[in-house]
Symmetry: D2
């Protein structure tokens, strides 16, 4: 059973990512609340905090973490600031969700790892959010069943409409392919042993001097290959695709479909077996919309008139079924309340 | 701004649907809690309430609604019990989310509508949850843009693996097609004026005597047609599809794809334009998983070792980019804490 | 074994359809030649005949059919002219391929049927060409296997970009839905017993006064339903789709895919099992292109240089496989003959 | 205008591939006939020739090519025999369609190229049949329009159910990837400058000792990359896919769809604009089936009864359109001739 009180979270960093996490915890997440926000820009921290009951604003992460209202920490500041924030959280033994990258380089990551080991227990979840994406979760589950046999290769595509102005050629690896590095390790359960980077002539759509696209091949200690097309100025959309090639079949995600497999002479996917699977999201959103509207003192969505009209049409339909043929629907006048 | 206190909800009916709503409000929904549950079966009500802090169990809906902890009511009892529950909620002027059907027939629905009018304001949201399904929402939005022109026809498919033992031929209309009745009214913004039901030879997979499948044609006051294949013993899966045929194109949902259109010589769909759109669900689930684990006193998901390994691989990758060719990854030994 | 001599065909009618059949017999079909063409427009007949060795031009069908070079007749004149041409062919006991419709109405079709019976053997193939479309052929074959069980319903879509200026509301039935009438009879093996036509408000994209689209429901003596959306001014493309709904699954064609089924919890299609299946069309077109070029005294397609370059790259590839890593390709200079 | 006489072709080699070409020329191809077949196995040659009017059988290719009935040569013998056959055809200045590979290695291919240059004109088409596959042809055409911009990368998949017993690791390159080598050169219009082969742990489904799958990266003189997954024991099917990644979009073939593109925020494909495009194959097959049946003295396909039944149903349909509602179909009894 969950503790009754919502979890009080300090969000460190209120830039684009941090602010989005604040909104998420405040409006979407069940069982949590934003207890504190931290930003070096005091005005920004205050503006973000102002919209949330009981949320304090800070410029100092330690001060925020010291608050008795704070039970856990979400780190969304810039990469170089992560190490200090993590060590601060460890000092108070607070659980942490740390946006990726954990830290910008392997040496600092090792230091964080040593500090956590000194603590004696794990405290950190790293923000590799693809592990929570419905399509990746299905792919992982399918690989886990063994139906397709052992994975031999993983083909990945990672495409962005356009790169931000500060993007460098090495950031295609450290910022973008970093996701495929984690996906490869997670899906295959292997460590990566070698990296090859191939560099086709850059696209004329990429900024001058940026090596975009690149083609990266990862080798693993399990003997698998994982290739990655990284193309951050493809122009047409944001697209993340993965195809696992296994001994007896393949499985692909990210392609405007659900998960699609090739196996035993057939391509295709699965069909939901009942409404709880097909419409789970609809029920969640329906009830959330009702709760949100009710808390604002409003009524939205389909109302009594819609319930009545459906009943009247169904009555006519049942008569049509029984009699055969066509039956006209009798409908009362629509009252002004439902105009 | 939302009120700070979570909304206290009384859930009336704790059968399959009601129990699922209790779980949803307790675990998924932000800003609400289950304050009371009601069931004629006292044991069932107590069992459901036992798992939730501060939730009381009742056999009488009025008693539950009288509680000062109850701010709103979710009605998930059987259809014939809805009218009394709705009138009881009106008596206390409580907001209601009422599962479909509003009531089992048009006459009782009219009585509810009159009672709500007497109240002078709308209090009821009816549980036509398809209006909250991502695919239907996109279809509605696309129709609203006018890109495809005026809708002329709607083709609907509604297929269940197997019908429950109590299902009758008329329930294919009143229980199943009821959803398409609402979808048709909502998507087109028309009222339905006539219903025709065609009855092919029943499937040998349907229970003896059940007229399954049926083919229903709805006519609207806007001159559109909406046809519905209802087939509740199709055997292969649960499938809900809709295709709007408009003056300049068509749009289809429910087909293992996202929304697919035909227009101007092309079929296909849209590609996300950035990661906030593509991975919104992943971020929500990531943070919810972290909050849930933290409240249970656990750490799950990718951890510090994963953050370190990604940093080490990316460092090798950046060297491979700079030098060209293949670079081996140097990885520390994995500490027992991360085994 | 086939007779050695090609079949001499008289093509009656050299409008758009007839001229296309002349081209087809002359250039595509194996074992046949155009021996005579007939058109009431003498100039048109002569122009068409001029391009083909040994082809005579006529304004009178009987004269053409009397030629000793004519072994068979293809009727592609206007519908009202079919009856006389068919009776003329019967008089000479010639085999006939008659474009649809056989004749414009049931009474004249009955007369043709009586004349053929008097002959004592079948002589006519009617031009319902969908029975030869790869996708329809696959659908028919799948239904024949019984895997999906008995067909219960057929959903058909028939969409044209725009209707010709002479098109009337009843031609949507007699000219367009005529194809679905045949498809329904052929796929199901049933006769059609009743027809219902529903008429939504016409599209503003249809010519003034034309009832377009229409929605047609066919009932069969096997208890199945076949519904047809006919929309001849849809604007976006030419689209012919069919979905068979059977007792244990569904199968759909015409949708930018190959045949797609829903059955046993999965949607999808089959994968070719070898290259003779996947590339049959490529081999046919390759050899036809070579024969055509050779008869024109030309050489086209991939040549000796391409064969050499492939050999050189493959040699480097085999070395790369054996050594591991990257091997550069050594290529001779490209001789001017292959520029 | 084509010459009237069909082209007399000598087919050298009557193994699986050669016998299939004999069938194709005899039954499918317009304007050609098999004049001679050659095989070192005299019985096989005679058996193949026996089915074809006017076809002679030989064990010596020169003898066959010397026949006045032979206008052109199709070489389908084993690779090592190609050089001699090509030189023999050059000696008589006969046009050649030579199955791939042109010759087994670059040195012999250079000798053939020199002999053809000595002849002073091109005589050889090499059997890279993918250049004639509808999907590859569309992809090439799309790249040629420039809509997608310059191609940067090509991702290829080449999968076979199982490899023949004589297959070696290097044959994955020289026999299978040879196709992608040609496809890459043809689609991009580049020469290949380097080859890298990566070798994941072999599949347990591959024969002992066979390095299957392999992952091959081709670099081109135009700065593009072309990667190839070659997997000849994938078990599930024969699958050949290609995806071109260009500066402004991507295009993919071979995936159970027609050509699918990503561009300008949308994924999808084109819709045919009229029936001549959609049903070209159906018309060709319809007329070929009629010609074949007629030459056998048979009548197949839809007949007079089908033409009549369609006319009767359409008449009822037109009445249903005019009156509204449902009209029953009156059908004569089916005569025994059409049973």
């Amino acid at each position: 059973m969950n503790r009754r009180e919502p979890l009080g979270i300090a969000v460190i960093g209120t830039g684009r990512m941090g602010a989005d996490h604040v909104r998420r915890i405040d409006r979407v997440i069940s069982g949590a609340r934003v207890a504190a926000v931290v930003d070096v820009d005091e005005e920004r921290a205050k503006t973000v905090a102002a919209g949330i009951d009981g949320c304090t604003a800070h410029t100092d992460a330690d001060e925020a973490m010291a608050s008795p209202d704070v039970d856990a920490v979400l780190i969304a500041s810039s990469g170089p600031a992560h190490e200090a924030a993590l060590l601060g959280a460890f000092a108070r033994d607070l659980p942490v969700l740390c946006e990726k990258p954990l830290t910008p380089d392997a040496a600092s990551a090792l230091r964080v790892m040593e500090a956590e080991q000194a603590l004696g227990h794990r405290r950190v979840q790293v923000g590799f959010m693809r592990r929570y994406d419905t399509e990746y979760v299905r792919l992982k589950a399918l690989l886990g069943t063994g139906q397709l046999g052992r994975p031999l290769m993983l083909h990945n595509r990672h495409r962005n409409v356009a790169s931000p102005s500060f993007f460098t050629s090495s950031m295609l690896i450290s910022d973008s392919v970093a996701h495929e590095v984690d996906v490869t390790r997670w899906l295959l359960g292997h460590e990566i042993t070698a990296v090859t980077v191939l560099r086709p002539t850059p696209s004329s759509g990429a900024p001058e001097g940026l090596r975009d696209p690149q083609f990266v091949v990862l080798e693993t200690d399990g003997g698998a290959l994982s290739d990655v097309e990284i193309f951050v100025n493809c122009g047409f959309g944001y697209q993340v695709q993965a195809e696992a090639v296994c001994e007896r079949g393949t499985a692909r995600i990210g392609d405007g479909h659900q998960l699609v497999t090739n196996m035993a002479g057939r391509w295709g996917g699965t069909i939901a077996q009942d409404w709880t699977e097909r419409f789970a999201q609809a029920y969640d959103d329906e009830v959330q919309a009702w709760v949100d509207a009710t808390r604002r003192g409003e009524v939205t969505g389909p109302g009594t008139w819609d319930g009545y009209a459906a009943a009247a049409v169904c009555e006519a339909g049942v008569r049509a079924l029984e009699q055969g043929g066509r039956v006209e629907v009798e409908l009362a006048d629509r009252p002004p309340l439902y105009a």
